[in-house]
């Protein structure tokens, strides 16, 4: 039976941002997942969580932990991405200045998520939500 963890992520809450990823990481550590796998999951879940905090009106971060893989799913309630191809380009960002001042919004989030996951899928439509599905193999 896979272990599922689910967290509500609030938009704009920069104090709590990262707490869900931290809990996922701690759980994986306790389960004895190898450090290199742990780091990949931490990177992709934290970037996904920050994206919900920065760009959405709120959403959910989910981790499904099985023996052979860890699935990370980030779903938000909008406003959606107009041009996914453009959003996937390194350096492209729609983040406002105050987000950049926090050290984010440099257009590296989605490319980092793709780079560090073994499987990456993104669905989004302008006006509705965005869903990112990532798999990190545990081997």
């Amino acid at each position: 039976m896979p272990l599922t963890m689910e967290f509500d992520i609030k938009a704009g809450d920069f104090v709590l941002a990262g707490e869900a990823s931290s809990k996922i990481k701690d759980t994986l550590k306790k389960l004895g997942v190898k450090p290199e796998i742990l780091k990949k999951v931490a990177i992709v879940s934290y970037e996904a969580e920050m994206n919900i905090v920065i760009h959405s009106v709120g959403g959910v971060l989910k981790a499904i932990i099985s023996k052979d893989k860890i699935e990370i799913i980030a779903e938000d309630r909008g406003p959606g991405i107009e041009n996914i191809e453009l959003a996937m380009m390194e350096g492209y960002s729609t983040a406002p200045e105050e987000i950049r001042n926090l050290g984010f919004g440099a257009g590296m989030g989605l490319p980092n998520m793709k780079k560090y996951s073994d499987y990456f899928e993104i669905e989004s439509q302008k006006g509705s939500g965005t869903r990112v599905y990532m798999v990190v193999l545990n081997k």
């Binding site: 920069f14 926090l102 050290g103 989030g109």
Partner: protein, 116 residues
């Protein structure tokens, strides 16, 4: 390079320091104000130098197993940042040196020269 040596070279002010870290060896440093760049810097036994002073710096360090953070240009960490560092057991210092010089001093003294 031991953390105690890094602290001495950069004349660091201590905001939080887990005792067991002082004699810990570090092999490299990442100097950046871009947390996504830090998240793309996958190396072991790394310290982070940054000009940013918000809790996301500590969160990023936590995700990357970075055990020590040095704030450059004499900036003061926010209260939330110190609190989170304490909670996550991540050493937090500041130095008056600007980023370029701080990185230069550590590199000149051998940190990150072993191609790790």
């Amino acid at each position: 390079m031991k953390l105690s040596k890094i602290k001495e070279l950069l004349r660091c002010k201590v905001f939080f320091e887990p005792q067991e870290l002082s004699e810990e060896e570090f092999l490299n440093a990442c100097g950046s104000d871009l947390m996504s760049d830090v998240l793309a810097f996958v190396k072991e036994k790394v310290i982070l130098l940054t000009g940013l002073v918000n809790p996301q710096v500590i969160r990023t360090a936590e995700m990357m197993d970075i055990k020590a953070v040095i704030i450059v240009r004499g900036k003061q960490p926010s209260e939330e940042m110190v609190k989170l560092a304490r909670e996550k057991c991540i050493a937090l210092y500041s130095t008056d040196f600007p980023m370029f010089q701080a990185c230069g001093i550590l590199y000149e003294n051998g940190l990150g020269k072993e191609g790790c």
